[in-house]
């Protein structure tokens, strides 16, 4: 196993860790953070592919992912603030309108 395969394994593990956090945590802010962990693992995979192949595409994709992450966090934080002001709690279970 070379370092690139090792880092792809790390990306898989961190993606799974973030996904587990999204499913099992009850705190809304921590759920958003776990989504960020998943997004970071995707960036890691793109960068590893770019570094191994020596091409620009993976790094450019990582750049666009950062833009998507910035938009995502702006909207997510606005929604979190709205939900907390409406329900008075960061607990996901406190909001019956949220499905799943």
């Amino acid at each position: 196993m070379d370092k690139y395969q090792f880092l792809i394994g790390l990306a898989v593990l961190t993606f799974a860790t973030g996904l587990a956090g999204v499913v099992i945590r009850r705190n809304l802010m921590v759920v958003v953070m776990c989504v960020e962990v998943m997004l970071n693992s995707v960036v890691l995979a793109f960068v590893v592919f770019a570094a191994r192949s020596g091409t620009l595409e993976g790094a450019a994709m990582a750049f666009f992912l950062y833009i998507a992450a910035a938009c995502e966090i702006a909207v997510a934080m606005a929604i979190v603030v709205m939900l907390v002001e409406r329900r008075g709690s960061l607990d996901i279970a406190a909001d019956p309108e949220l499905k799943g």
């Binding site: 196993m1 370092k3 090792f6 792809i8 394994g9 790390l10 898989v12 593990l13 799974a16 860790t17 973030g18 996904l19 587990a20 956090g21 499913v23 099992i24 945590r25 009850r26 705190n27 802010m29 921590v30 953070m33 960020e36 962990v37 970071n40 960036v43 890691l44 960068v47 590893v48 592919f49 570094a51 191994r52 020596g54 091409t55 620009l56 790094a59 450019a60 666009f64 950062y66 833009i67 998507a68 992450a69 910035a70 938009c71 995502e72 966090i73 702006a74 909207v75 934080m77 606005a78 929604i79 979190v80 603030v81 709205m82 907390v84 008075g88 709690s89 960061l90 607990d91 279970a93």
Partner: protein, 164 residues
Amino acid sequence: MISDVLIAVFAVMAFAFALLVVVLRQPMRAALALIAHMVCLAAIFACLEVHVVALFQVLIYVGAVMVFMVYAIMLLDDRDASYTQVFSRWSLPAVIAVGVLVVALGAILLPWTPAVPATRGTSPFSFPAFSVEFMKHYWFHFEVASILLVVGVVAAWAVIAERR
């Protein structure tokens, strides 16, 4: 060789901090663990000589996104049921499902044998080289991304307007 050792060290730290994000009780501590996770990833990118992405990782993620998130936590941090009961009742099925996902993804991705990179004189990931090549090939995508950012700002404003 030193970079390989550093990559291994930072990889272990990145995974440990990702685990801490999931298990820590207080959102502020989880946010600090997430910042450490992102810094470790930036160090890995630097060890891979993809300096431009390492720079973006620190500037955009740690410098902007996480500052925003920490500010929101400080604004909202109140003690509620999610502090006393940290995990949902779906924890065990979720962990089993995620374990299956890890095995499946590992089986797909780890046998990957990448193509040998073309010989190149200078690194395409230094800031000047990346900037020139990026704007040569991705200028249109860059403009579309700026529109996406504006849409994100408008969407956040619309959510806040809905609240009022």
